[in-house]
Symmetry: C2
Subunit: 150 residues, 2 copies
């Protein structure tokens, strides 16, 4: 299995942790240039009563804490769902080198769906790859919302 | 003194705390519908080694923790500087009713300068007021960057 796909499987395992506690299932993993896993996170908005507790923010906070540096410029962030404006902004603020995501978020995605934040003249814009394990990343969300409605 | 200006003075006092520890001086205050102060925050990016430790995020996290609810829909956020994309996104995610800011951030502001995030079809967009104590909010930043260069 290729490295991006392997890391997205780990992000999907994080999304499953969110699913298991009734949170919208989104997961993230941060990896450095040496392919070392620095941090993981999953959505905990309801559990933590926190509007900023998205998978990406949790993984970014942990990674910066671990590296004792707010600059994560040697890092790639893997996330199962296209980041929202808050998370896309946080990724830029953290100087993350590359973002890889799975499914598109048609209603709230800030890298392609709603708009592309990184086309604006920000201090820093990462490289972006989308559609990695797109089907699997979308399916866990569909399953969650289907159960919620029934 | 009018209420918005009074709250912005408190946000400026928060910005001064950031200034005093060598952080870019930005401060924020969150107030509810009954004009009760719920939380305060100031930029701690370097001190906390955290790329997300902007004044707004800290104030939002504290307010949600205090209210035991990620929805801050009865709240107004006061901040000395126009929010960046991350913070503008967090304000929307938190369903904050109204944002009041002081100085414009020509290079990174997401409510007017770089673009206006709230013109996009987000789940929630707050009301916005700008230029409250604009001169004072800008001056503390100018003083900080002038000292930094010399």
């Amino acid at each position: 299995m290729l490295f991006d796909e392997e890391m997205m499987l780990l992000a999907l395992a994080e999304a499953q942790k969110a699913y298991d506690i009734g949170e919208i299932p989104v997961g993230a993993v941060i990896v450095d240039d040496e392919e070392k896993i620095i941090s993981k996170g999953y959505n905990r908005r309801e559990r933590d009563n926190s509007p900023v507790a998205h998978a990406e923010i949790i993984a970014i906070e942990k990674a910066a804490y671990f590296k004792k540096n707010w600059r994560l410029n040697d890092c790639t962030l893997y996330v199962t769902l296209e980041p929202c404006p808050m998370c896309a902004g946080a990724i830029s603020n953290a100087r993350i080198k590359r973002v890889v995501y799975g499914a598109f978020d048609e209603k709230g995605g800030a890298l392609s769906s709603l708009f592309n934040l990184y086309e604006l003249p920000l201090n820093h814009a990462p490289m972006v790859r989308s559609r990695v394990l797109e089907r699997e990343c979308g399916e866990i969300l569909s399953k969650f919302f289907k159960n919620l409605r029934s």
